[in-house]
């Protein structure tokens, strides 16, 4: 029985097979989201298909295969174009089942780019679709975690990111666990956020926040971040504090480029020629419960998502492309809402449950980080851009 649902009109291209995320709910490194935003990739003009990635050395990675416009009776085989980069392990013989959808499993073996090709009828039959697979080398991004006491105000024990953590030890454990969950978003892109074993008990006092405020303003906070005791020049500093006084924002990721552009730099000693400290860091407000994906979003900002324009000005803060010079707009399509850099603030007010769940749970931002380059949309190619930032020379600062 034919299962074609779309008529062919003139030059319309029919994709008979497709790929997607193999689970719903919270992100997981072994269930990466698939870039299915059309089939064009301007960075690889000859390629037409969906794209996924993993990190070299990770095995048992799952994606979902769909028969979009082909009968379940058609015999199909899945074959890796370069099994030394990524090898399909299930189905082991490559033969896809006679179902509309099934999970497939692969091992990411070494850094490179290949494709899983869907062959019709025979293992070497005509190719009717491809999933492009990028295997990244592992890039370690060191983190230094700080539990910050601000002019005597410590992180709250009763509501530490929504959990009851009455002791410093339990807060440290909770924070480390939190970072592990954030990693599920970034490891498929080859980026491992590796927290130091020590969680620093960092104190901001009169030197860092001269006003004596226990609830710092934005300006006070970034200056304190730059001049903080225990600040590491060799890690992303993650400052966790119990409160701040600039609205309901729960987290901020300030990259080196943004801090440089805004001149958020402070001399340790006020004298000419003295090394200055920059305010680049990830700042978290433990008094506001957030999902790990929100913190993943902030690390996206730290990795220069969203982008800075050539002149150094911020082009837009979220992957919506329409926030220049006015109130924040937002695309409202389901693909945009699945993107980790989508602004959660515009997701939350929706009263329609069908709009607030894009496969990750109600009111939870998705973990999709786009791969393809679309010349007409500067917000794409996030995976490559984040990696370029993370491996470049302006990612950490003294």
């Amino acid at each position: 029985m034919a299962t074609f649902a779309t008529q062919v009109w003139n030059g319309e291209r029919i994709y008979m097979v497709g790929f997607g995320r193999a689970k719903t709910g919270t992100p997981h490194m072994k269930f990466p989201d698939v870039d299915d935003v059309g089939f064009q990739d301007d960075a690889n003009a000859s390629e037409h298909g969906q794209i996924v990635s993993s990190v070299a050395g990770l095995s048992d990675v799952f994606v979902k295969f769909n028969r979009m416009e082909i009968s379940t009776a058609a015999k199909l085989y899945l074959v890796s174009a370069d099994a030394s980069i990524a090898a399909v392990t299930d189905p082991a013989d490559g033969a896809l089942s006679a179902k509309l959808e099934q999970k497939i499993k692969f091992d990411a073996l070494k850094a490179g780019r290949t494709a899983f090709e869907v062959h019709y009828r025979w293992k070497d039959g005509p190719v009717i679709g491809r999933l492009y697979v990028v295997v990244y080398p592992r890039t370690v991004v060191p983190l230094r975690l700080h539990l910050v006491t601000v002019n005597g105000f410590a992180n709250p024990g009763a509501n530490f990111f929504g959990a009851n953590c009455p002791t410093v030890a339990s807060q440290q454990t909770q924070l480390q666990k939190f970072i592990r969950l954030v990693n599920h978003t970034w490891i498929p892109h080859g980026i491992l956020l590796k927290a130091e074993a020590t969680v620093y008990q960092t104190v901001w006092g009169a030197t860092q926040i001269p006003s004596g405020s226990q609830s710092p303003t934005y300006n006070e906070m970034v200056m304190a971040g730059a001049l903080s005791p225990n600040r590491s020049p060799a890690s992303i500093n993650v400052y966790v504090m119990g409160q701040w006084n600039f609205g309901l924002t729960a987290a901020l990721g300030i990259p080196v480029a943004w801090a440089t552009q805004q001149n958020l730099k402070y001399p340790a000693v006020p004298a000419v020629g003295v090394v200055q400290h920059l305010a680049n860091a990830v700042y978290l407000n433990s008094g506001i419960p957030v999902a790990p994906s929100i913190v993943g979003h902030e690390f996206g900002h730290y990795m220069q998502l969203c982008s800075l324009a050539a002149g150094g000005a911020v082009q837009q803060w979220h992957s919506t492309g329409d926030t220049i010079g006015g109130a924040q707009g937002a695309r409202d399509d389901l693909v945009s809402r699945r993107r980790v850099m989508y602004p959660i603030t515009t997701l939350l007010p929706s009263g329609f449950s069908w709009r607030t769940d894009v496969g990750y749970g109600a009111n939870v931002v998705g973990a999709l980080i786009t791969y393809r380059r679309l010349t007409q949309d500067i917000t794409f190619e996030e995976s490559n851009r984040a990696r370029t930032a993370a491996t470049g020379g302006n990612f950490y600062a003294v």
């Binding site: 060799a234 901020l252 080196v256």
Partner: protein, 300 residues
């Protein structure tokens, strides 16, 4: 008192004085030796802490040692374990010295991408004149564009007029970033032609060119350049978003606001806080304009 007795007393006093000096000198030598022994012991402790990954302890020891930690860091920069090399970069800014700078420079082309990346940002501590030849030597190896730009920038900071010849060839680079950084580094080191080019760009009507010139002035640090800030202080075009992510409403800084902040970073003091970008009021802008007007308008 007889003469002989006085003579004896004088001799005794002289001997006592000599002895006391010797005692003091010996005491100083003993103190010096004590310090050396203490430093040796701390350096040994630092090595142990670095090899065993005791980061907070290593930080404390480095802070106690100060520049004396430099030789340890220089030695450990060659360690085979990338975590140890990363720790060298963590500690180097706590022990500003020629040795620490050389440790950083030796890691700029490390095999580990994270080490390379951190070393590049640690380059900011390499401000000593003695390490400039090391930076120049590295430039000769034709590193990546990003590293070339960083090295040129640092030579501009740590070098002097003699280094103009080292920078000059980079003005012919096919890469515009390299050309620009070489030019402003030369301006910083006193090249009059390049300084004039910066002044010309301050007068540009293109907003990106003008703002870049302001940033260059901040890097060059020559107060005389502020004389030419007048047109930029009159430029009320919006230039960039200054609201952090997730904060509404979105606020734009104008070119005049960036100019005021640049002046603040160059050491000018205002009656209002100007270090943070904000949309400054007309009265505040006027204060900056008066400051510029009061400066001598002669060319630097």
């Amino acid at each position: 008192m007889g003469e002989g007795r006085q003579t004896r007393r004088a001799i005794i006093l002289a001997l006592a004085a000599i002895l006391s000096v010797r005692v003091v000198v010996w005491g100083e030598q003993e103190g010096h030796g004590e310090r050396e022994r203490m430093n040796d012991s701390r350096q040994d402790a630092l090595v142990h802490q670095m090899l065993t990954g005791q980061i907070p302890a290593a930080r404390a020891t480095t802070e106690a040692l100060g520049p004396q930690a430099g030789p340890v860091l220089a030695r450990m920069a060659g360690h085979q374990n990338s975590q140890v090399r990363l720790l060298v970069l963590e500690l180097a800014p706590l022990a500003l010295s020629v040795d620490s700078s050389r440790a950083v420079i030796s890691l700029l082309q490390d095999s580990n991408v994270t080490v390379r990346s951190v070393a590049s940002s640690d380059l900011a501590i390499c401000t000593q004149k003695q390490v400039v030849p090391d930076l120049v030597k590295l430039l000769e190896k034709k590193p990546s564009t990003e590293l070339t730009v960083a090295l040129l920038k640092q030579i501009g900071i740590a070098g002097d007029h003699d280094n103009l010849k080292d920078l000059d060839p980079f003005r012919n680079s096919p890469n515009p970033e390299v050309v620009h950084q070489a030019a402003v580094a030369m301006a910083k080191l006193g090249d009059p032609a390049e300084l004039q080019r910066v002044i010309n760009r301050l007068g540009s009507l293109d907003p990106n060119t003008r703002v870049q010139a302001l940033r260059d002035c901040q890097y060059i640090g020559d107060h005389g350049l502020v004389r030419y800030f007048g047109p930029a202080l009159d430029d009320i075009r919006d230039f960039m978003v200054i609201t952090p992510p997730h904060m509404e409403p979105v606020v734009m800084a104008r070119i005049c606001d960036i100019t005021v902040q640049t002046m603040a970073y160059m050491g000018f003091r205002f009656s209002f806080p100007a270090e943070f970008l904000a949309r400054f009021t007309p009265i505040q802008l006027e204060e900056a304009k008066q400051m510029v007007a009061s400066m001598n308008t002669a060319t630097p």
